[in-house]
Symmetry: C2
Subunit: 629 residues, 2 copies
């Protein structure tokens, strides 16, 4: 029986040949997070095999590069008959700066798509210059001497110098004998100075990429020197209390003070995350010189405080698709006040910056001829179909159910969330697992899908989503017209409240999956093709990480296709924002993609409503669509 | 005896041939302000003779153009033996938009120097455009359609659109079927949009010119359509409580929170005036699109919140001579938030924007060969000597005495100020007149000069500025080492407090006049010339309006030269700011002047201290300088 050693703690365990590596970790008392319940889907339990052979079933999650370097998912690995040394990755991050817990989904993306080497080319760069000291009678002010140094060091004659930089000049130029670090970027109109600090501070150029979802906001803090993600965090968009989907937000924003309220709420969430990340990494917010934002068209309007009403009114003309560079301070974003904020271009009223961001994470951003479908599952579902020749895009309102929103017991996919539920065919009782393995706090999107799928396949709900009232089941409570299903009783949960879903919740989920499925179907019909013609289906979303394909086909969210056609790319929107944050080539690519997408307005597609209604069943009224071929 | 009729009231009076027109006005109960006491110096009592002949002694105050058009100063006019119709100018302003009470000193300037006609060419202009309505499927956002309209209407492809304009687009573009008024300016990098309003609002383009003095701030509100001054107001700079001259302000500003306090104080004063002017003229501050600022180098630093310390430390390198365009909102100035703020260029540490502004009001801004001296009398005295071939500039610290500052009974030259004092040779008692002719509130700079000059020429003070302790005088009170002279007893004043000056006050004034005289002398010595070589001496300053030349030579403030060589140009700094506000040609001229001036740092001139000490007597230790030739 081989010895399995876990680094850096050095703890070890002896397990039989063929035993799951996860068992060895448990035996060695080494804590490994398996948010997807060990199903090889979320990619969170990535480790590096330093020595020794293991058996690893990749299932398409990790890129070949990574596998070649010895990376495996611990949950999909079993030991062979030889000693193995395993390096845990949260530690790896601290040691080598790769694969932080924080990096989240980035390893889900094909490495070839990620910027590296010379591609790391942020908008705002730093440069050390020496500004000569003033001399008696030279007739030069501080700003004149700076301009002279800039024209030599940056070929930037007549650079644009903001007031805050001018204000800091008298002291900064005299602190280290004129040695200063300039933060600057090249605008079409010339060099713009963003900041100036005394001495050499080249090691302090940071960036944030921000994905503003209707329900969830994700932010990554990046060291711009090498493009390394040094922190990542998500939180609910504080706008949630003003409406769950984009349409209700647009309605809420009709009064000017409410528009301002929405702006403050979303920037409040964003800034809260940025400040936490900055503090945890001991970074001054002033050294965040680069900012990249992705979000749907409505979110982009709201974060800027722009009246969004005309997004939803015919002829659907938003105020802006491609946002010019505005400064972080103007937008109220916590970063260097002069940092230019990059917004990826939007495509249509409901196909926003987030989808162009997300496309960067797929082969649709390459020259591939393969027909691909990209589904960004979120409150505002956004879908793109195409290949190197064409791109069709559309959006649908799925509601927040997949992100745990709009459901009493719902929560985000974070610690304490029930993310997998088995239902006993006989008793109807639930057996669940939670993220972090502690007592449950609520149920997240993947838990809901798992629950509904299993309730349906065990016959405890019918195709219309109604709970069985005839067979006795202690987990089903009747309350007049509507029934409730108890997933976890009060005495089992972290907060002493039962975790339950109502038939209304089930209905929400069915509407959500119907919206997405029928949108995909309608897009394909536009070009007279079917699901079978697809080579690849990319699934993205803050939710998507924990998506169980099999269960998703059971409820009819995604079409029944061979598993290898699916590729999970996690929260691709924030990763796309990361790419544009660090790389000029990707900013240009994104612009090109946005121009290429033909926007299909589903509200004007006569067939969409018909398809949607047809999809309001489990899995679909047309059962053939979900029959294994 | 002729009938004199005053319009527009129609009141009239019959006076004998040769009577002063002022007497006729009093008899007709027509109120005419004569701030200088009817001495023909301040030019405030300007009226138009509509019909009839009068006898008018111009004394060089009004330009020939104005005299040709029938304008006279009422205090210097007497009636002839025929009926006269007089139009009062405050009314004229309302009717024809010329010579408002508010225009203050503008009629003191040679008309040829003032912008008119095509010269009225402000930085920010307005234009009406029609932005086509959105069409279904046009793929254009509001900002795209605006850009399209701009590229046609302004040849401004890719214009810079600020966030606040973008934020207003959805409503503004839909209010009047796409008809909008654009406020814009052409920056070197392209067209920049400043504002957008629905419909045609071409009649709402206003501007403010601001003269930031160490002691006094003057603001004029201008209708940019024709360049008409529609309101004007001065107030004390609220920074006064933090130090009376630029050096004490620089010292005060050493701590960051105090620097910010100074910035807030000066913008507070400026904004208070702007808001009052805007309100009085029912103008929204948002339609103030043009802003022009003049001030000495220290004031310019402080209004921007820039650490001014290095202005006064060798090698005297300020942070900035020529301020780039910053937006009113960044600077905290009450105007349209995006209004670009024009600062005239500074020349040296103590020769600021105000002097280049002021030069625009003199023949030094023309191609004249005549050697001229320009003296801007203020807390920071600034002096330029030259002609079309060269310009030498310097500055000296005169202290605030000439503006009524730093003296217990001192006040600005406004209503209630004693501005002329006669002293009885025998009794030593004062007889005074006040601005507005009411009971006195305090004594202003011209009152002080008049007082000191007369005390000196009647022998009540000696050449060292000490009051006579031997001859009995009820107005002189002894208080140990220092004596005090009572100008107005407590029972005569508006507030029941006596108006008095101490020997320390006299000393202040002597130091002030010594600083200015010796600076002029030193400049002339630099080119080995004397006062006799001067063709013209321009005297400017918020104070200068009421300057009495004769008395000024008695105390040795200005050299003894024929009266016609002097030209009072009032607060030329604010008028220069007005010129640059309304005219591109004047902005360019000002830049040219600033480049042309050679800055002489008096602190490094060995002779200056010697000259200054020699001037610390009344009128001077070298009495020959003030002996009539």
């Amino acid at each position: 029986m081989p010895v399995i050693t876990f680094k850096p703690s050095g703890r070890s365990a002896i397990v039989p040949d063929g035993a799951p590596l996860l068992d060895a970790a448990k035996l060695a008392c080494v804590s490994v997070e398996t948010p997807c319940g060990g199903n090889g889907l979320c990619g969170k339990c990535i480790v590096k095999i330093e020595s020794g052979k293991v058996r690893f079933d990749n299932g398409g999650i990790l890129s070949d590069d990574l596998v070649g370097e010895g990376f495996v998912l611990i949950c999909k690995t079993s030991v062979a008959d030889e000693p193995v040394s395993v390096l845990l990755l949260s530690q790896l991050d601290q040691e080598q700066g790769k694969f932080a817990e924080a990096t989240q989904d980035i390893h889900l993306i094909d490495r070839g798509l990620l910027p590296a080497g010379e591609d790391i080319d942020p908008l705002v760069k730093l440069k050390v210059l020496t500004v000569p000291a003033p001399e008696m009678g030279d007739g030069l002010s501080d700003i004149d001497r700076l301009q002279k140094a800039l024209s030599v060091g940056l070929q930037g004659q007549g650079a644009d110098i903001p007031l805050c930089v001018l204000k800091s000049l008298p002291q900064v130029l005299r602190e280290d004998e004129g040695r200063v670090t300039i933060a600057y970027f090249a605008a079409p109109s010339g060099i713009k100075i963003v900041g100036i600090t005394a001495s050499d501070t080249l090691d302090r150029n940071f960036g944030v990429c921000i994905d503003i979802g209707t329900t969830t906001i994700a932010v990554q803090l990046v060291d711009m020197r090498g493009g390394r993600i040094i922190g990542s965090k998500t939180d609910y968009n504080a706008q949630i209390e003003c409406g769950l989907d984009v349409i209700s937000r647009i309605n809420y924003a009709k009064k000017p003070q409410r528009l301002e309220e929405l702006r403050e709420k979303v920037t409040g969430t964003i800034n809260g995350i940025i400040r936490q990340l900055a503090e945890a990494n001991r970074i001054a917010v002033e050294s965040v010189y680069n900012v990249s934002v992705a979000g749907n068209t409505t979110m982009v309007h709201l974060v800027m405080g722009i009246f969004p009403e005309y997004i939803r009114l015919e002829p659907y003309s938003p105020a802006v698709y491609q946002v010019p560079f505005y400064r972080a301070s103007e937008l109220g974003i916590a970063a260097n006040p002069e940092a230019p904020v990059y917004f990826a271009p939007s495509v249509g009223s409901y196909v926003g910056v987030d989808i162009t961001s997300g496309l960067l994470c797929t082969s649709l951003a390459t020259d591939s001829e393969e027909l691909c479908l990209f589904i960004d599952i979120g409150t505002n579902g956004e879908i793109v179909l195409g290949n190197n020749e064409f791109l069709l895009g559309c959006a649908c309102s799925a509601g927040p159910a997949f992100e745990g929103g709009g459901i009493d017991s719902g929560m985000r996919a974070s610690n304490g969330a029930i993310e997998k539920v088995e239902v006993d065919r006989e008793t109807g009782r639930a057996e669940y697992s939670t993220i972090g393995n502690g007592p449950p706090v609520g149920i997240c999107g993947s838990g809901l899908i798992s629950l509904i799928a299993n309730l349906f396949s065990t016959g405890w709900i019918d195709a219309g989503g109604k709970l069985d009232r005839h067979r006795g089941c202690e987990s089903i409570k009747f309350n007049g017209k509507y029934s409730t299903y108890i997933v976890a009783a009060a005495d089992q949960t972290a907060n002493g409240k039962p975790i339950a879903i109502t038939e209304a919740d089930i209905d929400n989920l069915i509407r959500a999956k119907a919206a997405i499925f029928s949108a995909c179907y309608t897009l394909l019909q536009k070009i007279q093709l079917g699901f079978d013609d697809l080579t690849r289906i990319y699934i993205a979303g803050g939710f998507g990480r924990y998506l169980n394909i099999e269960k998703s086909t059971v409820i009819g969210l995604i079409p029944l296709l061979p598993g290898e056609k699916f590729k999970f790319i996690g929260n691709s929107s924030v990763i796309g924002a990361y790419m544009t944050l660090v790389s000029k080539r990707h900013r240009e690519k994104e612009l090109e993609l946005a121009r290429k997408i033909t926007y299909i307005d589903l509200s004007t597609e006569p067939d969409y409503m018909y398809q949607y209604t047809a999809a309001l069943f489990l899995p679909h009224t047309d059962a053939d669509l979900f029959k294994p071929s």
